[in-house]
Amino acid sequence: MKEGVARFWRQIPQRYNFLGNQCQSCQKVFFPPRESCPHCRRKSIGKMKELKLSGRGEVVTYTIIHVGPEEFEDQVPYPVAIIKLEEGPQITAQIVDCPVEDVKIGMKVQSTFRKIQQDGHTGAIYYGYKFKKLRQE
């Protein structure tokens, strides 16, 4: 993706630690964090509180990518899904650590910290979240 290093560094709290935020007016949770709540708008300014998310959620929809961008070519075929997190927000991420055929709508997943991509052999390595099947406890 050839992001500037600062551009990635600014998002480390979200991509490494699932730091979102919550509107103290309507209690709705956002990920990535927002400057204001789109529902409460002016009432929410200054009232957005940082919130660490559980990283658990459910697959809403998915695809298996067979033709990937240059940075992901060595990973094909790989599943990408939209995941609805327990706290409410939906995000896009890869599903890993299972055969691609196992990915299904409704599958319960949990986040895992992984390498996402890198700028060539000598460039910066970018880390972030992927998801795997939730362990039954």
Binding site: M1, E3, Q11, P32, V60, T61, Y62, T63, I64, I65, H66, V67, G68, P69, E70, E71, F72, Q75, P77, Y78, V80, A81, I82, Q90, I91, T92, A93, Q94, I105, I116, Q117, Y126, G128, K130
Partner: protein
């Protein structure tokens, strides 16, 4: 607001046009439109150009003035503005031109749309197109543009029982129409089997579910409706224009299977035109992927939500069906030079409503609708047209 009509159209062939440059393509489409409208440079009050990413495809920004220059208008100092909204850039440019006449400021405006996509390699083109998606929260994690539409398809299949075969029918229909369009990138019919067996790109979408990477340009001349008959016997009026936005990322939407931007843009256009979806005679919709056409005919109100797949299978939208969709071949077969697409849709509507669409002519067409989408639905523009 004043009424506005199309008095001239121009189109290049769409395809892999190795021997033609960005500058040649836009000059070709523009001069055709100007000749068709029988106007001269001095009649033109303004230029609007739609292009998604000239900066990355041909490393040239600032193309408003460039288009005026290559058209031979530099000495006339015509105001020239580039408009961008990803794959909806073309229709946005049409809308800007429409406003500038409707407001009473201008009488005659030339609108162009262009993309020269084959001067970069295939993986580079894919990366550039992905900038229409959310770079930081979709593309960064490995989601491709076909992958995002594929996720709409997976969910549509889950909720409504839509099948891969129904998706394939969209491609077969659009190639059949493209075969009748001399401007189309692909002028060859294809079989259901070819689509079903095409190389997987992002499941459930195969290569033949995807529109191609294309070069091409399109242009129209807009004129205040009360002056249009000074130039042409067949002015085609824009009777409705709507535009709406939504989140850049698919995951931020109210519903994965509905493009709310389409719903809202269509509502505005229908309201202005004082007609409803049932009145539309034919439509050009944004079929960047086969699933996109199914969502489009649902979200435009032609069929009930979830019934798009079966409507395609029942051949309602074929050239001889009750509501022909993508008579030009659509993005799938005509080609999808992204910035040109929204303008080219207006060219097709105009040709149909003038009764000049040749072998693909829709009989007794009264109202035509054009639907142009940016990204996976973050921008949508809908226009409705009628012969004057």
């Amino acid at each position: 607001m004043r009424d506005v009509a199309v008095i001239g159209v121009g189109l290049t062939k769409f395809g892999e046009l190795w021997d033609k440059s960005f500058r040649q393509l836009i000059a070709e489409a523009g001069s055709q439109a100007i000749l068709d409208a029988k106007i001269e440079g001095k009649d033109i009050n303004a230029l609007y150009i739609g292009s998604m990413s000239s900066g990355r495809f041909v490393e040239q920004e600032h193309i408003g003035a460039l288009v005026a220059e290559v058209s031979g208008f530099s000495h006339l100092h015509i105001p020239a503005t580039r408009v961008e909204g990803a794959c909806a850039s073309g229709a946005l440019a049409v809308r800007e031109g429409y406003f500038s006449i409707a407001s009473g400021l201008n009488d005659i405006v030339v609108v162009g749309g262009i993309e020269k996509m084959n001067d970069v390699g295939g993986s580079q083109a894919t990366a550039i197109l992905a900038t229409a998606a959310d770079q930081e929260w979709e593309a960064f994690f490995g989601a491709t543009f076909p992958g995002i539409y594929a996720m709409i398809a997976t969910r549509h299949m889950h909720e409504y029982g839509t099948t891969k075969e129904q998706l394939a029918h969209v491609a077969v229909k659009n190639h059949a129409n493209g075969a009748l369009n001399p401007y189309a990138q692909y002028q060859k019919p294809i079989t259901l089997d070819t689509v079903m067996k095409s190389t997987m790109v992002a499941s459930p979408l195969g290569l033949m579910d995807c529109s191609p990477v294309s070069d091409g340009a399109a242009s129209i001349v807009l004129c205040a409706a009360d002056k249009a008959k000074n130039y042409t016997d067949k002015p085609i009026k824009i009777i409705g224009s709507g535009q709406a936005s939504d989140t850049l990322a698919l995951h931020g939407r109210r519903d994965i299977c509905t493009l709310d931007s389409t719903v809202h843009a269509a509502q505005q256009a229908y309201k202005q035109a004082q007609i409803g979806p049932k009145d539309i005679s034919f439509a050009e919709v944004h079929d960047c992927f086969t699933i996109a056409e199914i969502c489009a005919i649902e979200d435009l109100g032609f069929v009930e939500k979830g019934k798009g797949g079966s409507a395609i299978e029942q051949k309602i939208t074929t050239l001889d069906g009750t509501l022909p969709v993508n008579t030009s071949g659509g993005l799938k077969a005509k080609g999808h030079p992204v910035g040109a697409t929204g303008v080219a849709q207006i060219v097709e509507l105009t040709m149909q409503l003038r009764n000049e669409a040749g072998k693909r002519q829709v009989k007794d067409a009264r109202y035509g609708l054009a639907h142009n989408v940016g990204g996976s639905g973050a921008t949508c523009v809908v226009h409705i047209m009628e012969a004057m």
